[in-house]
Amino acid sequence: MIQITDLEKFYKTEEVQTIALNKLSFNVKEGEFVAIMGPSGCGKSTLLNILGLLDDPDGGSFMFNGTEVAGYNERKRSELRKHNIGFVFQSFNLIDELTVFENVELPLIYTGVKPAERKQQVEAVLEKMQIMHRRNHFPQQLSGGQQQRVAVARAVVNKPKLILADEPTGNLDSTNGNEVMDLLIDLNEAGTTIIMVTHSEHDAKYSHRIIRMLDGQKVTENILA
C-alpha cells in the first residue's frame, strides 16, 4: 500500500539546516499494523505527517496505492487524504466548539456525504466506540479516554484504508490507553492498515512490525507477528 524510497525532509531555520528524514525507505502492506519508535527528534512525526499527506517530502519517492504522491499540491493531497486516511493524535485535537456527534461528522461533511446517511454512519461508529450516550456533549465535558475514543471514531467514520496514530495513548492513563489500543486492534483485524508512532514499548507490542528510527534513518526492524 505504501512504498517510500529515499525519503528526505529538511527543516531550515535562519542559521542551521536540520535533517529530519535522511533517505528513509520502507514498505507497508495493506492490512498491516506498523509501529514506529525512536527518541524525540528522530523524525517519527515528520514521517507521519508525510505519510498523512499533511506535508510534502523534499526528496525521494512516496507511492500511495501505486501512485506517486510526492510533489502533489495541497488540493490533490487534501482530496486523497479525506477519502483514504484517518488521524488519531496524542492531544486528541477535537474542535471545542463542536459536540461529539459533530466532531465525528466532520470528515463525512468534507467528503460530501448526505445528511441522513451521515447521521446513520456517525451513530453506528459512536455505538461501536461506546460513546453514543455522550453524543451531545462537548469535548471539555469528557474524560481523556472518552475524548480519544471520539477522536478514533472520527478517524474511522469515513472507513479509511489507512489510520495514522501519533502516540494515541500518550495523554492517557494505562486503563484508558489499553482501551484505545484494543480499538485499534479491532480496526486492524477488520482490515484497516495502521501506522502508529509511539514511545511505549507496551503499545508497540500490539503491532505486527516495529520500525526503530534514529536521526531520520531506519536503524532496525522487528517483525512480531
Binding site: 487534501s78 485535537n93 468534507y110
Partner: protein
C-alpha cells in the same frame, strides 16, 4: 455545511463573550454611524426630486459684474421671463415670481403664510395638481388665489369646500379662492403655501416693467427636445441684447442643482451643500473602515485559539477555499448581528440625531432602499472585515498547528500594528479637526461685528407701525423693558438693498462699485449699538436731514483721504455726508465690511429693532412689548425674533460640521479603543507565562504594566506623527473657505496627541494591570 458554520460561529461567539461584544459593538457603532449619515444624505439628495420635470425645469439667476468680480444674485428683471419665452425657441414656459408673507384671516383664525405671486406658467412648470378648481381657469380672475390643501385645512378645517370663498389678506385685501392644490413635497428649495397672479402685486409698480431692477425669481421650463447648452447660451446673451450692458448675464440653474450646488464664485459654480454631503459620506466610510479594522485585528490576534481547529479541519480534508468560506461566513454572521444591534441603536439615537442636525429623518425600515442599504452594509462589512482574517487563518500549516507549535505571527503582527496605527491616525485627525472647527466658529462668533447683537430683537413692520412709530416708541420705552427703538428697511444681518451707478466726491470710476443702501430712523444706530467714527447721526426731525446721508468707514475710504464730512454723494439727488459710522458686518460674517450708505427715511422700513433692558426677564419683556404692539397694531399677530438667534443661524452649516465632527471624533475614538482594549487583552493573555516568570523573578507590578503598555503607546505615538500633517492639510484646506479665519496653533496638536495617549493608556493599562496583578502560579501551571 453552512449550518455547521453557523453553529460553530454562534458557539464561538458565546464562548468568547467579551471578544464577541467588542467585535459586534464596534461594528454596530460603525454601521449606526454610516446609517445616520446615509439617512441625512438621502434627505439632502431628495430635495426637489419629487417634481416630475427634472430635466426641464430651471431657475434663472444672474451673474453681475462689480469691480471686475462677478457676483451671483437670485433675481432677474421683470420682463425677462416673457422675453426668454418669446425669443428662445427651447423655452416653452416661463414665470416671474415674487415671494411674500401673507397674513390670512378667517374669522378669528389668523396665520402667516409664505407664498408667491406668479405667472400662470408656474402651475405647469411645477406640475401643481388641483384638488379643487381647474388649473386652466385658476388665474382667470385678477383677484384669484390658489392655496395648498394644508393651508385650506388650517384656515377652514378639514373636509371643507373652499372654492369660491373670499379670503382676507393682511386685513386689507380680498382674494378669491379659485383652486386648491396638493401640498408640495416635504423637501423643496422654494416652498409655497399659495400662489396668486403676478400682476396683483406688480400692477401698481411701474418699475417692475423695465430692465432697471433685478427683483424677480424666474423659473422656466425647456421643451423635452431642447438642447440645454444651446438654450443656456442664448439666455446668457439675452440680457445684454435687451440692455446693451455686458455686466449682467442670466443663466439656467437646473432644478437638480438647486439644493446641493447653489454656490457661485466669480460666475462659476463652486458646489454648495454637496461638499458637506461628500465630506460626510467619506467620514461614514472612514468610520466603517475603523470598525472593520477592529474586526480584523481581534480575529487575527486570537487566531492561536482557532489554529487547532484549522489544523484539524485541514487534516480531515478541508481545502483552503472551504476554510476561507467558513471564516467569511462567520464574519457575515457577526456583521449581521451587528446590523441588528445598530437598528436598535438607530431607534434610540435617531431622535437625538434629528435634534442635532435640525431635521426630521425617519428610519423607514419598510422602504426597500433602506433594507437594501442595511443588507448591503452587512455584506460589505462582513466580507471586507472577514477577508483578511479568513486568508490569514486558512493559511496555517496543519503540521505546525497540530504539533502545538506557536503560530508565527510575524506578518500578521505587523499588519495588525499597521491597522492600529491607521485607526488612531484617523481618530487623532478627527480630534484635531474638531478642535479647530470649534475654534473657527468661536473665532467668527466673537468677532467685533460693529454692532451689538445682544438684547436686540426685531419685529416685522406691518399695518400701521410706521405711521404710529413715535407713539409706539414712546410706549415701549415707557414700559421700562426697552431702552431704544429704531427702524430699518433691511435686516441688520442681511445684505439687502444695493446698487451701483453712484458718484461721490473724491472717487474715481465710482459707477462700478456696489453700495448697500439703508433707510433708517434717527435712533437706529443707537439701538443697534453702532458707533460713529466722526460727525453726527441723523436728527429726530426727518425733514431736517432729508438730504443728509451717513456712510460707513469703508465707504469713507472710497472718498479718499481727509474727513468725509461735508463730501457729496450723488444718487439721482445730491446728498451731504454728515457722519461716518464704524464698519459693521452683514450677510457674510466671514468676509469684509461692504460700504453702506444710510438715508434718513422711514417709508421703506421693514424691520423695527428694539434694544431691550437686560435686567428684565425675557418673558416679562416680551409680554410688555406685545401689549404695546397689540394696542397700536391690533390686526397683526405679534411676531419677533432675537438678532443673536438669527446670527447663530448664520453658522448653521458650520455648526453642523462642528457638531458632527465632534460626534464622529468621539465614535472613532470609541471604536478604536474597543479594538485596542481587545488587543491588549489578548496580548496580556499571550504573554501571561512571560509575565508569570518575570513576577517570580521579582518584577514589580508597575514594571509589568509598563512592559505591556509600552508597545501600544509607541503605536499611538506613531499615529500622532502621521496624523498631524494630515490634519493640518485637511483643516488648512477647509479654512481657505473663510476670509476671516484662525491661525492653526501648534498647541492644538499637542493637546490632541496628549488626549489620544491618555485615552490609549487608560484602555491598555486596564488590561495590563489585570495581567500584572494575576497570580503567577496560575499562568505557569497551565503549561
Amino acid at each position: 455545511m453552512i449550518l455547521n458554520y453557523i453553529k460553530i460561529a454562534f458557539r464561538t461567539l458565546r464562548k468568547n463573550k467579551g471578544y464577541s461584544f467588542l467585535n459586534i459593538f464596534g461594528l454596530a457603532i460603525g454601521i449606526t454611524c454610516a446609517s445616520l449619515i446615509f439617512l441625512w444624505v438621502e434627505d439632502e439628495v431628495s430635495f426637489d426630486s419629487d417634481f416630475s420635470k427634472q430635466d426641464q425645469v430651471y431657475y434663472v439667476p444672474t451673474h453681475q459684474e462689480y469691480d471686475g468680480e462677478w457676483r451671483t444674485f437670485n433675481s432677474t428683471p421683470g420682463p425677462f421671463a416673457e422675453a426668454m419665452k418669446a425669443e428662445i425657441p427651447g423655452i416653452v414656459k416661463a414665470s416671474r415670481t415674487k415671494h411674500r408673507d401673507f397674513l390670512f384671516a378667517v374669522n378669528d383664525n389668523a396665520i402667516n403664510s409664505g407664498g408667491r405671486f406668479v405667472d400662470e406658467d408656474f402651475i405647469t412648470i411645477f406640475s401643481l395638481k388641483f384638488v379643487e378648481g381647474y388649473a386652466k381657469e385658476a388665474f382667470n380672475n385678477p383677484e384669484a388665489i390658489v392655496i395648498t390643501q394644508e393651508t385650506a385645512e388650517q384656515l377652514y378645517g378639514k373636509n371643507t369646500k373652499v372654492l369660491g370663498k373670499v379670503l382676507k389678506v393682511d386685513n386689507t385685501d380680498n382674494y378669491l379662492i379659485t383652486g386648491v392644490i396638493e401640498n408640495l413635497p416635504k423637501n423643496v428649495t422654494f416652498p409655497i403655501n399659495w400662489i396668486a397672479p403676478f400682476e396683483r402685486w406688480s400692477g401698481d409698480k411701474e418699475w417692475t416693467n423695465g430692465y432697471g431692477s433685478f427683483f424677480a425669481d424666474t423659473f422656466v421650463e425647456l421643451s423635452p427636445e431642447a438642447d440645454f447648452n444651446a438654450v443656456n447660451d442664448q439666455v446668457l446673451g439675452l440680457l445684454e441684447k435687451k440692455t446693451g450692458d455686458s455686466d449682467s448675464k442670466a443663466f439656467l440653474h437646473s432644478i437638480k442643482d438647486w439644493h446641493l450646488r447653489g454656490n457661485f464664485e466669480n460666475g462659476k459654480q463652486v458646489g454648495g451643500r454637496i461638499d458637506s454631503v461628500r465630506l460626510f459620506t467619506i467620514i461614514a466610510l472612514i468610520i466603517l473602515l475603523i470598525a472593520c479594522i477592529n474586526f480584523m485585528n481581534l480575529s487575527t490576534a486570537r487566531s492561536e485559539k482557532r489554529a487547532n481547529e484549522v489544523g484539524v479541519r485541514k487534516a480531515m480534508g478541508s481545502g483552503r477555499s472551504r476554510l476561507i468560506f467558513q471564516f467569511i461566513s462567520e464574519a457575515l454572521i457577526l456583521s449581521f448581528i451587528a446590523t441588528l444591534v445598530s437598528v436598535l441603536l438607530l431607534f434610540i439615537l435617531l431622535p437625538q440625531f434629528n435634534l442635532l442636525i435640525e431635521r426630521n429623518l425617519v428610519l423607514g425600515l419598510a422602504e426597500p432602499l433602506h433594507i437594501i442599504f442595511l443588507l448591503g452594509i452587512t455584506l460589505v462589512c462582513g466580507v471586507f472585515a472577514g477577508l483578511y482574517p479568513a486568508f490569514y487563518l486558512s493559511s496555517f500549516n496543519p503540521v505546525e498547528v497540530l504539533k502545538g507549535l506557536k503560530v508565527t505571527q510575524g506578518s500578521a503582527t505587523f499588519i495588525r500594528k499597521g491597522l492600529v496605527v491607521g485607526q488612531f491616525t484617523i481618530s487623532i485627525v478627527f480630534i484635531i479637526c474638531t478642535i479647530l472647527v470649534y475654534q473657527q466658529i468661536q473665532h467668527v462668533k466673537n468677532r467685533d461685528l460693529g454692532f451689538d447683537k445682544d438684547q436686540l430683537i426685531s419685529l416685522n413692520v406691518n399695518g400701521t407701525m410706521i405711521e404710529k412709530f413715535d407713539v409706539i416708541k414712546q410706549d415701549l420705552i415707557h414700559t421700562g423693558a426697552v431702552s431704544s427703538v429704531g427702524l430699518n428697511n433691511s435686516g441688520i444681518l442681511n445684505g439687502g438693498n444695493n446698487g451701483s451707478n453712484l458718484t461721490w466726491t473724491g472717487g474715481t470710476d465710482t459707477e462700478d462699485i456696489l453700495i448697500f443702501f439703508r433707510y433708517i430712523s434717527s435712533d437706529f444706530l443707537e439701538t443697534a449699538g453702532m458707533k460713529l467714527a466722526e460727525g453726527r447721526g441723523f436728527s429726530e426731525n426727518v425733514a431736517k436731514d432729508s438730504s443728509s446721508v451717513l456712510i460707513t468707514e469703508s465707504f469713507a475710504k472710497l472718498m479718499g483721504t481727509g474727513s468725509a464730512i461735508g463730501k457729496k454723494v450723488i444718487r439721482d439727488d445730491t446728498y451731504t455726508v454728515i457722519g461716518v459710522v464704524k464698519d459693521y458686518l452683514f450677510e457674510d460674517m466671514y468676509g469684509q465690511s461692504d460700504p453702506v450708505l444710510f438715508f434718513n427715511y422711514l417709508g421703506e422700513s421693514s424691520y423695527m429693532y428694539l434694544k431691550t433692558n437686560p435686567n428684565i426677564e425675557p418673558n416679562e419683556m416680551l409680554s410688555k412689548v406685545e401689549a404695546v404692539m397689540k394696542k397700536h397694531n391690533p390686526a397683526f399677530p405679534f411676531e419677533y425674533s432675537f438678532v443673536d438667534d438669527a446670527f447663530n443661524a448664520k453658522f448653521r452649516s458650520e455648526q453642523l460640521i462642528g457638531k458632527l465632527s465632534q460626534l464622529f471624533a468621539l465614535l472613532a475614538i470609541l471604536i478604536s479603543c474597543l479594538g485596542l482594549f481587545g488587543l491588549a487583552a489578548y496580548t496580556a493573555e499571550q504573554r501571561s507565562k512571560e509575565i508569570g516568570v518575570r513576577k517570580v523573578l521579582g518584577a514589580s507590578v508597575a514594571g509589568i504594566v509598563k512592559l505591556l503598555s509600552k508597545d501600544f503607546l509607541k503605536l499611538v505615538g506613531l499615529s500622532i506623527v502621521i496624523a498631524i500633517p494630515m490634519a493640518w492639510y485637511v483643516i488648512d484646506n477647509w479654512l481657505q473657505n473663510y476670509a476671516y479665519r484662525i491661525e492653526i496653533n501648534w498647541w492644538i496638536f499637542v493637546i490632541a496627541g496628549f488626549v489620544a495617549i491618555v485615552i490609549a493608556m487608560i484602555t491598555v493599562s486596564f488590561q495590563a494591570i489585570k495581567a500584572a496583578l494575576a497570580n503567577p502560579v496560575d499562568s505557569l501551571k497551565t503549561e
